[in-house]
Amino acid sequence: MLTENFTNDAIDIDSLPKYQEIVLKKPHVSYWKVICINLIICFLLLGIIAAFLLVFNDEIKPYLIAVVSAYIMLLICFFVVFWASFRKRGYAIRTQDVIYKDGIIAESTTIVPLNRIQHIELNEGVLSRMFKLGSLQIFTAGGVSGHLRIGGIPIDEAKSIRDLILNKLDSTESVETETNAGE
C-alpha cells in the first residue's frame, strides 16, 4: 500500500512518465489514399443520385447551378475536414498503455491502460487490404466513449501490436490470479 501523503505525491507527479511528451506515430501515408477513395466513392454515389434528379425531375432542373455548387462545396468541406483530422491522428503503445490522439477541431488524446482492455479487434477493410493496412479496435468497459479505433496501421505492425497487447493481457491476468491466490 502507498502511504505517502499528498505533498509527496505532488513531487512524484512531475517525475512520472508524461504522456504528452511521447512522440506519436502517424497513420501510414497510404491511409490518406484509403480515406480519399472512400470519400470519392461516396461522392460518386451522391453525384449519380443528384444527376438523376436533375435529369428526370423537372422541379429541380432550374436549380442546376445551386445543386452543383452545393455539391462542390460539400466535396471540398469533406476533404478539408478529413485531411485536418488525418493530420491530427497519432498513436503510441507504451509498456502500460495505448495512447491515441485525434480530433477535427479539438485535439483529444485518449489513453487506455493495458490492464483495462477488455478485448481487441483487428479489422482489414477491402481497400485497406490493398494498401496493406489494418485498423485496431480496443474495447474497454468504459462503453462507447472509452473505445479506441486506430486506423491506418501497416498490417504487420498492427498484428504485432495486437499480439503484444494480447500477451500483456494474458500476463496481467495470470499475475492477478497469482496475487489472489497469495492473499
Binding site: 512520472l16 502500460q96 483529444s108 472509452g146
Partner: protein, 501 residues
C-alpha cells in the same frame, strides 16, 4: 423443493407459479394490442361477438405460448465452471450462460400477482458485454433466497453450505432505515424536475387522448379545445399555478412512498442489501466492489433538513437488444443524513473520502452556455418579437429569462469543480441539486484530455474520465494541471492491479 437444493440439476420454475407466468404472458400480449382492441371495439358496430371470439383466441394462444415457455425454461448452476445456465425458447432453443463473477446484482421482487400465489420473481443483472439479463418469474421464497446466495457467494459457497444455514435478508445486520417521516421530507424536496415533466406529459397526453376518444365517438372536434380554453379562462392563472404546485408535491410524495417505503439497508457478509417498496417489495443485493460511481446530492431545502440522496452506479456498458443503454443499474438511497452517508460511503468505498486538492474551471466555461442558451435564443426571440406585434408585450419575459439564465449559468460555473486526492476523485456539479460524484482511481477505464486550438495560448482544456458506469467530465480546467493529473491517474491505474469490479 428442498430448501438446501444446490441447483446443480436443471429445474423449472415453481409449479404454482405457472399461473403467474401465463398471466404475465397474456398481460404482455394484451398490453401490446390494447390500442387496436379498443379502436376495433369502437369501430365495429355489428358482429361484436366475432371480436370477442378473436380476443378469446388471442388469449388462448397467449396461454399456450406461456405454457410452452414455462415448459422449456430451465435453469441450473454449474459449480465446476462457476456458471449459471438458463435454457429457454419455444421454437429455437436459447442457452444463456452467465459467469457468476459477471453477476452484478440479484433482485428479488414480488408483484401483486406473485404475492397472491406466494411466489417471487428473481432478476439477474450482469456486466456481460452483450447486456444479457435473466428473469425468473416464479420461484418460491426459500429457493429464491437460496439461489441468490449461491449466485453471489461464488468463492466461498462450498464452505458456506456446510457451516451456515440459508440466510434470509432479515438476518443481515441493519445499517440504515428510513422512516416514513423522512420519506415525507424527501418527497417534498426532491425530483422537482422529474415530476414537472411527468405532469406536463400527462397533461398533453390527456388532451390528446380526450380528442382521440371524442373522434371515435364522433363528437365535434372543437368541443375539446373549447372546453380547455373555457377551463383556462375559468380559473385565474394564480389558482392554476397553486393547483399545479400542490399536484406536483402530491405526485412526488406518492412516487417517493411507492418506491422507497420502508427503505432498509443492511450489510450481509460482503454485500449490501437494500429493500424497499410499498406495493411490491423490492429486494436488492449488491457487492460494494461492483459500484463504479458513488454519487450523493442535495439541494437547498435538503441541506436545511440535513438529508441527502445517494445513488450507486454500477457498470452499464453493453447495450440492450433495442440499442438503448441498459437501465436499472443505479440504486438510489434517499433521505439519509450526514452520519448515515458517511457510514454508507465507508461501506462502499472502504473509507470516507475527503476532498483533496480542488481544481476550478476557467471563466471561459461561461462562454458557450451564455452564447447558446442566452444570446442566441434571445436574439431569435427579439427578431420575432419586433416583427410580430402579438409577441411584443412579452418582451419583459425575455429580460427575466436573461437574468435568471445568467444567474443559473454562473451558479453552475461556481459549482463545477473536481477534487483529487490519493484515494478518490470527487466531481461536484449542479445548479439546484448539487451532486458529488465519487470515484476511486482504479475504477477508471480510460482517460481523454482534449483542447481546442484557440485555447492553446491560455492553457485551457477538458478532461473526461471513462468509467464502466459513465463519464466524469471536468471542463475548462488548467491544461497543464489536467495533464499532470492524467499522468498521476495513469500511474495509479497501471501500477496497482486492483480489480475494478
Amino acid at each position: 423443493m428442498p430448501v438446501n437444493n444446490d441447483f446443480s440439476k436443471p429445474q423449472r420454475q415453481s409449479a404454482t407459479g405457472i399461473i403467474v407466468i401465463v398471466a404475465h404472458g397474456s398481460f404482455r400480449v394484451i398490453k401490446a394490442l390494447i390500442i387496436p382492441i379498443i379502436i376495433a371495439f369502437f369501430r365495429t358496430t355489428e358482429n361484436k361477438h366475432y371480436l370477442f371470439l378473436g380476443l378469446l383466441a388471442l388469449l388462448i394462444i397467449a396461454v399456450i405460448i406461456s405454457y410452452l415457455w414455462y415448459r422449456n425454461f430451465t435453469f441450473f448452476l454449474n459449480k465446476q465452471n462457476q456458471e449459471f445456465v438458463v435454457n429457454k425458447g419455444i421454437l429455437n432453443r436459447d442457452q444463456v450462460i452467465i459467469h457468476l463473477e459477471k453477476i452484478q446484482q440479484v433482485n428479488i421482487n414480488q408483484n401483486v400477482l406473485q404475492k397472491i400465489f406466494g411466489v417471487y420473481g428473481l432478476k439477474i443483472d450482469t456486466a456481460g458485454a452483450s447486456g444479457e439479463e435473466v428473469v425468473i418469474y416464479a420461484i418460491d421464497e426459500a429457493s429464491a433466497y437460496n439461489l441468490k446466495e449461491h449466485l453471489l457467494d461464488r468463492k466461498t459457497n462450498v464452505i458456506n453450505e456446510t457451516s451456515e444455514p440459508v440466510h434470509r435478508p432479515e438476518t443481515a445486520t441493519p445499517v440504515l432505515k428510513i422512516s416514513a417521516l423522512t420519506l415525507l421530507k424527501v418527497g417534498l424536496t426532491s425530483n422537482h424536475g422529474q415530476s414537472l415533466t411527468l405532469m406536463f406529459l400527462f397533461f398533453i397526453y390527456l388532451i390528446q387522448e380526450a380528442s382521440h376518444i371524442m373522434d371515435l365517438l364522433e363528437v365535434d372536434d372543437g368541443y375539446v379545445e373549447n372546453t380547455v380554453m373555457g377551463l383556462a379562462t375559468l380559473f385565474s392563472v394564480a389558482i392554476i399555478v397553486v393547483v399545479l404546485l400542490v399536484a406536483l408535491l402530491i405526485i412526488n410524495l406518492v412516487r417517493t412512498f411507492y418506491k422507497y417505503f420502508d427503505l432498509e439497508i443492511g450489510q450481509h457478509k460482503h454485500s449490501l442489501i437494500l429493500s424497499s417498496g410499498l406495493v411490491a417489495k423490492k429486494n436488492t443485493m449488491i457487492s460494494p466492489d461492483k459500484v463504479q460511481i458513488t454519487k450523493h446530492s442535495q439541494n437547498y431545502f435538503q441541506k436545511k433538513l440535513n438529508m441527502l440522496n445517494i445513488s450507486l452506479k454500477q457498470a452499464n456498458f453493453g447495450m440492450s437488444k433495442n440499442g438503448k443503454e441498459m437501465q436499472g443499474n443505479t440504486l438510489e438511497i434517499v433521505g439519509c443524513n450526514k452520519i448515515e452517508r458517511d457510514e454508507l460511503l465507508h461501506m462502499i468505498l472502504g473509507q470516507v473520502p475527503v476532498k483533496g486538492k480542488t481544481f476550478i474551471p476557467d471563466w471561459r466555461f461561461l462562454n458557450l452556455p451564455i452564447f447558446f442558451k442566452l444570446i442566441l435564443p434571445l436574439a431569435i426571440f427579439s427578431v420575432v418579437a419586433f416583427n410580430v406585434p402579438e409577441i411584443k408585450p412579452l418582451i419583459g419575459f425575455g429580460f427575466a429569462y436573461f437574468i435568471i439564465g445568467a444567474f443559473m449559468i454562473y451558479v453552475s460555473y461556481r459549482r463545477h469543480r473536481i477534487a483529487v486526492n490519493q484515494e478518490s476523485i470527487i466531481k461536484t456539479s449542479g445548479i439546484w441539486d448539487i451532486s458529488n460524484e465519487i470515484i476511486m482511481p482504479h475504477k477508471i477505464q480510460a482517460i481523454t484530455a482534449s483542447q481546442y486550438p484557440w485555447h492553446k495560448g491560455v492553457d485551457v482544456g477538458h478532461l473526461c474520465l471513462h468509467t464502466a458506469a459513465g463519464k466524469i467530465r471536468f471542463k475548462y480546467g488548467n491544461y497543464t494541471e489536467i495533464k499532470r493529473l492524467v499522468n498521476y491517474w495513469l500511474y495509479q491505474v497501471e501500477s496497482g492491479n486492483e480489480n475494478w469490479m
